[in-house]
């Protein structure tokens, strides 16, 4: 059976490739031969996609570049320099230089996090996190043509596209939530599957980003497989069917808070738990876990990988779960962490294998006994 959800896209060379982009394409090495034809095309699409129109609008291009070297969440999570502590593990060779943008960024406390409302906001997140979640068995119940593997390929492509466009994590998580919720209600054909993914990413970027790409950019991202009008129609359909309920609580929302709570929180821990949350997006079977559980489990799993005291009492008492409730989710994340090293879906793994993100994806898996 053909498991590729996305129809072969025209192998067209984009008119203008930004020179900087070209470098990037050459720099990233991936075992292209091993991946199916379609994935290769997809992979190239997203890489070759020039950032049309964004450049002029983004007056702050330079600053933004620096920020994106680390996940967005880091900046707001570290409260001051003193909490940054390097952890050097055998596989992690990079160190933070004195001029690290992260360090500079962290000296200013983020007003949105020290605000006196943080308790109310956390409580309200917990109350509402289940409000806009997809059904957990829609592939079996609703879809005729889409399977788990196809979903994984689409998510992988969305992760890659988001990275290329330097979207915030929130945008990516929202986009995938929209895809899953739409698929929970309507059966979608293989031909329309990528359109749905791209349209959801477009909606999410309109919701979260300051400078969302234009529809033309998205047409281009999909290598002209779909027309501008296809996008407008698909967007309207998603908006209507999901009733414009886009204020969605995702693991990222909880991760920020939990990272502030957990003892000995450092950069590597932050990057690694962010990675685990992103990996989880690829796995349909993990839709069953609520966002707060994923976020908490990601931190405990990361603590395990980093050989810290795993069940940090501070985080245990702050998050609404017991060790028993957390354990299966932690194991699932560790399983994903290990299998990502050999998976065909490479976007997330490659992103977090780079030295910019401290090679966290290459760390050694811990022994599960440590978790008992």
């Amino acid at each position: 059976m053909n498991s590729n959800p996305l129809k072969p896209l025209p192998r067209k060379i984009p008119k203008e490739i930004h020179p900087k982009k070209m470098n990037k394409i050459n720099r990233i090495k991936r075992p292209l031969d091993n991946i199916t034809n379609i994935q290769t095309t997809l992979y190239e699409n997203s890489l070759k996609n020039p950032r049309i129109g964004n450049k002029d609008k983004k007056g702050k291009k330079k600053e933004k570049k620096i920020e994106t070297k680390t996940p967005k969440l880091i900046e707001s999570t570290i409260q001051n320099n003193s909490s940054i502590q390097m952890v050097l593990t055998p596989n992690c060779t990079s160190t933070i230089s004195q001029e690290s943008p992260i360090k500079q960024k962290t000296t200013n406390t983020d007003p949105s996090l020290v605000a006196e409302y943080s308790e109310e906001i956390y409580q309200q997140f917990l109350e509402n996190e289940k409000k806009y979640q997809p059904s957990i068995d829609y592939i079996e119940e609703t879809q005729n043509m889409i399977n788990e593997k196809m979903r994984e390929i689409l998510v992988d492509w969305l992760i890659e596209t988001s990275q290329e466009h330097e979207f915030h994590s929130e945008t990516l998580f929202l986009a995938i939530n929209l895809v899953d919720r739409f698929l929970s209600k309507y059966s979608v054909s293989k031909q329309q599957f990528q359109l749905l993914g791209a349209a959801c990413l477009m909606i999410a970027s309109k919701y979260e980003e300051i400078y969302p790409p234009s529809i033309d950019d998205f047409v281009y991202i999909c290598m002209n497989t779909y027309t501008k009008n296809n996008f407008v129609v698909c967007e309207t359909k998603v908006c209507n069917e999901l009733h414009f309920d886009f204020t969605v609580i995702t693991p990222i929302h909880f991760l920020r808070r939990f990272l502030r709570i957990t003892e000995g929180s450092d950069l590597i821990l932050m990057v690694l738990s962010n990675y685990l949350c992103e990996l989880q997006l690829l796995d349909y079977s993990l839709l069953k876990y609520p966002p707060s559980l994923i976020a908490a489990a990601a931190i405990f799993a990361a603590r395990g990988i980093l050989q810290k005291n795993i069940w940090d009492p501070a985080l245990l008492s702050d998050c609404p779960y017991s060790i028993a409730q957390l354990r299966t989710c932690v194991f699932d994340l560790l399983r994903l962490f290990e299998s990502a090293k050999n998976s065909e879906s490479k976007a997330c793994f490659s992103k977090y294998s780079g030295t910019e993100l401290y090679n966290v994806a290459l760390l050694k898996s811990p022994s599960l006994e440590n978790f008992f």
Binding site: K64, E67, K72, L73, E75, S76, K105, N108, D110, P111, S112, A115, E116, Y117, E120, I121, Q124, N128, H168, E170, M202, I203, K206, Y207, E208, I210, P212, S214, I215, K228, F231, V232, E235, T236, C239, N240, H243, F244, D245, F246, T247, I252, H253, R256
Partner: protein
Amino acid sequence: MIPAKVDDYTDLQKIGEGTYGVVYKATKISTGETVALKDIRLESEDEGVPSTAIREISLLKDLKHPNIVRLHDVINSDRKLTLVFEYLKQDLKKYIDSCKDPIPTRQIKSFLYQMLRGVAYCHEHKVLHRDMKPQNLLINKKGELKLADFGLARTFGIPVSSISKEVVTLWYRPPDVLLGNLKYGTSIDIWSTGCIFAEMYIKKPLFRGKSPKNQLKKIFKKMGTPSKEAWPSVVKLPGWSEYNFQEYPGKTLQELVPTMEDPEGFDLLSRMLQCNPAKRCSAKEAMKHSFFNDIKK
């Protein structure tokens, strides 16, 4: 559920024109209920649903509070998007303009308290309004006041350093944002609310600048140029060295808002109109201020 249609409404009367559409008063045929329809044209955009509409709708759907305008329905069809709101008689701007006598202090207190309650609710839900001004506050005959126009609102989950600076109508924009502070948070709405508080007494906008620089000058002339002692981080803001304002001594709030009289009111106003955002009070704190001791809560 049958999707709502524009045909479900009759008696359309234009009541306002915003930046991206027209607002009508209308009657819902099935119930006789009066509503406000905000039409957003899509064909001019050609970018599908505008991001302002995406945010306004999805945020308002989750903000249910007596001091926030209710969004009843959304009609999304054929290149046109219509938002169906509960109807309120007037916006605060029109009300202020229509009052010949000074607005009674009790009335001002009640409006301000309701404004703060709406703002506090938004902030508790991680939402910044970012466009507080009299035109965007709606009132009805019962004396209720509700926050409207969430077109510039957004959640503050994303590190604020990357939030847009194109926010808040110039006259209600706080000095730190005018100086280029992109790390603003909830304090942005408090400055605007403070400006409206004063405006209800003097019946015209407190600071009416023509450009960001001119707006800052107006603010500093009235409030005094902030000193590095009172606001150490001000020197790091890009506009500070660029504009290099002279040190205006500033005036007293009594001079600026002569009709206020109430010392409690001056105290509260001074806490809201702090140039240094870190010193500005929160909406929740403002609600607890003794200025409100004598009103029904």
